[in-house]
């Protein structure tokens, strides 16, 4: 247990805590910007922290026939999302456990969380939970392949599925601009919107039964369980932001040995990227309208097609 190792552990721990601490803020920023765009004052930026804190201290109300699965799911969801988020390089690459899961595994981890949540949605046996789960799984069954194809395209460019290696390869600029990268980015954005239940796929603010997906699943949740789920949602959004940052604008990350200044630079740039994205998202959301449930296939199908095209291009020629 020498010093270097402790330092490594610290770096890894820093990343875990960083994403956890940052997640509600990201959510707050997007809400604030959105409110502003809608000519509202909007809640304060740190409102999510307060919400989660409040929920954590409320008693949890459970349906009579809620099973153990219903109570475990929030923590499982939170854990999977958190671990996944912590495995995405944020401010530095080659962290201690970066090798323990590659991009495919991260996507699969999110799928695990979704699996659990969809089951929980069906546990108490209401119609809403069923609607939410079934729609969630339908969206996932379309979004996950698209996401995996995005993974393929970037992995084929980088010749690896390890995020750290990818980032380092992209950083040193040898890759350059590529058609396939553009397509992959396009597809990735669509998938991210769908996975995070944002407009136009879903509206995180609504509780209108017919349109909601994610909110319908968690309709029965309350108290600390709801807090866990909210936190997980925020973490997921953060995860996708940092994933986008890591894959497409990896610049500024600490690549070499992690001394103070490189880490600081990494942190600064990371925060900057995340905030920019948190501003861009509501702008996009306010400029489009929510779409009907059975329009999703077209929406995600386009993402799927774009990613597939990217992969095809890469299979056909390595230089596109």
């Amino acid at each position: 247990m020498n010093l270097a190792m402790i330092w490594e552990l610290a770096a890894q721990a820093l990343q875990m805590l960083l994403v956890l601490a940052l997640a509600p803020l990201v959510l707050g920023v997007t809400r604030k910007i959105k409110a502003r765009l809608l000519r509202r004052i909007g809640p304060p930026t740190w409102q999510p922290y307060i919400d989660i804190w409040k929920l954590l201290h409320k008693e949890a109300v459970l349906a009579h026939n809620a099973s153990w699965l219903y109570r475990v799911t929030p923590y499982l969801l939170f854990a999977t999302t958190w671990v996944a988020a912590a495995l995405v390089p944020t401010y530095a690459i080659n962290l201690m456990f970066s090798w323990s899961a590659d991009l495919i595994a991260i996507v699969a981890l999110l799928a695990t969380g979704r699996f659990a949540l969809a089951l929980a949605g069906m546990d108490v046996g209401t119609a809403f939970g069923g609607i939410g789960s079934s729609r969630e799984m339908m969206i996932a069954s379309l979004a996950e392949p698209a996401m995996l194809l995005v993974v393929f395209s970037v992995a084929l460019i980088a010749g690896t599925t390890q995020l750290s290696t990818m980032a380092s390869i992209f950083i040193n600029g040898s890759v350059g601009l590529r058609v396939s990268l553009g397509l992959a980015l396009f597809a990735f954005v669509f998938v991210a919107i769908a996975e995070n239940a944002r407009i136009p796929v879903d509206n995180p603010a609504t509780h209108l039964e017919l349109t909601m997906v994610h909110e319908a699943m968690v309709l029965e949740y309350s108290g600390r369980h709801l807090a866990m789920i909210e936190a997980a949602a925020a973490l997921k959004l953060t995860l996708y932001f940092s994933l986008l940052a890591c894959l497409f604008v990896p610049f500024g990350m600490a690549t070499g040995d992690k001394n103070i200044d490189s880490v600081l630079i990494g942190l600064m740039t990371y925060l900057a990227k995340i905030l920019v994205l948190a501003v861009l998202l509501p702008i996009g959301e306010t400029s489009v309208a929510k779409m009907r449930v059975f329009r999703y296939p077209i929406f995600l199908g386009s993402a799927f097609a774009a990613a597939a095209l990217a992969v095809f291009l890469l299979f056909v020629s390595r230089s596109l």
Binding site: R114, S134, S141, L148, G223
Partner: protein, 669 residues
Amino acid sequence: MPAFVGLWCVAALLGIAAAGVILGRWSWSWAPIYFASLVVSLAGLAAAFWHLWAGLPPETLSLPVGLPGVGSKFRLDALAAFFLLVANLGGAMASLYALGYGRHETSQLRVLPFYPAYLAGMNLVVLSDDAVSFLIAWEFMSLSSWALVVSNHRAPENIRAGYVYLLMASIGTLTLVLAFGVLAGVTGDYSFAAMRAQHPDAVAAGLVFLLVLAGAGSKAGLVPLHIWLPLAHPAAPSHVSALMSGVMTKIAIYGFIRIVFDLLGGPAWWWSLIVLGIGGATAVLGVLYALMQQDLKRLLAYSTVENIGIVFIGLGLGLAFRASNMAVPAALAITAALLHVFNHMLFKSLLFFGAGAVVTATGERNMENLGGLIHRLPRTAVAFLIGCAAVSALPPLNGFVSEWLTFQAILIGPELPQWGLRFIIPAVGAMLALSAALAAACFVKAYGIAFLGRPRSPAAEAARETDVFSLAAMFILAALCFAAGILPGAAIDFIAPVVQGLAGARLPVQIGQAWTSIVPIASSRSSYNGLVILSFLLASGVITALVVHRFATRATRRSDIWDCGYPDATPAAQYSGSSFAMPIRRVFGTTMFHVRETIDMPRPGETRAGHFHVKVTDPAWRWFYGPAARAVLRASAALNWLQFLTIRRYLTLVFATLVLLLMVVAAWR
């Protein structure tokens, strides 16, 4: 020596079958029979395990029976040992399960003699080393399982299932006979050794490949030869269903690997094109079929079709890489395929056991009448949930590992020279991703409808937890699912000799890797560590929970569900299986499955109930088998008048033929 152990196991199982004939009339007979099968299967398991573990050389044995001049030869090499291990592990678990489950069988005489015979047949297929013994064992397997499928002979659908099954099985066998005919040549030396020695020319080899793909594929359940599978597997008693889905399809895959990879010599690249295409189609279609089902066991059977597709994707990649002499990628692909074979045996057996427990507890296979079983069958529910997560390829369980390895193999695809493969491999990758996602949806449906929610029928209301033997079998399998998920490196190293034999190379040794993570090619390329993931999940989850409970509140209140102001809605108001599958059916199914939804809504004022019917038809039936069956019947009807002619007309037939032959003679030069 293990080869002889294997043969003795076969002999012992046949003996047990004979005992089953004698004992079957007594009600207690299931216990000794299944116990004996369990013991023998464990012995076979030990033999196979030892052979692989000690890395013994192939050993052969020939008995002076079977085809005159050829005799019957038996051989145990690494490949055979691996599949022997799969078969006997599945057999042992099924026997253990049946120690409890077998009690519920109404007519033991229809099951007990055939169950050990079925196990014996599967063992013998793997051991046999000449065409005739292989086919005899192969068909013996089919026959005994047919007897088990029709064991509940009063249900007409079982009889139909048995018929379709036996017909497809014998068609498959005949195609294999043709394949062996080419391999043996005109001289007709039907021993595998001779076939291995002589390499047929390109055309003959391609022909053999196609025939074997059809023959073994029909038994494995490749689309469009899968139709018998979802009929037959659910019809059998559940421990037999588990064997059919978990083991027999693997035996079929063994046949494919044995002939195509071992006997046939170097493959041509277009073979992999076909295998990949069919494998991908099978994976996607299989899981889509599964999503449409309301019958729990049929859903599981269709999911078997999907997983067979995944295995064949791996094998196709292996063929592609071998054709281009890329040994290490081939090793990766084949490792993925074999691991998935093993994993699927684990979780599919587990799931069928769970389904069997549900059926015995409720007497219902239709999910629409289940629900809330997580409260009535708590232990079964845990095991079944693990199975569902594993089959949905979720980390940190074992299903994910093999699919992850397959993805890794796909990502090496661009290095292949052939354009055709470069186009199809990404498509197959997309199909694989799609099937994985759909599988998750499918098993959310299966578990959510059957185990969660509120009971939809009195039977489900009154369900009781199953017996200890069944639970033991299920939990052993669940534990193995976890083990194979978090320590895949050991498994990869364990099957390395098999892969070495098939691909000519092996993956780097995994045991040495840091933190027991698996590194297929190079650590810079890709790596995965189930153990660390699991520990991270456990740590973060548990810590969070503790923190929340300690520093926030742990207060909990039970209350009614939010009912929109309409209190005590009936359980029927829950989401049903078909409504759960509806969005996906809309997206994928409407054209492909010829889905017909008929809604019968009473007009305002009418008091009768409204009805909603969904009819999903398997396109294979619609486009392929239905027409074929109709054609045969039409032909027989068209020929039938020949039974009703007058004697004079028959004489005219004879006369005409005679004159025709005379003309032939007159014209003969």
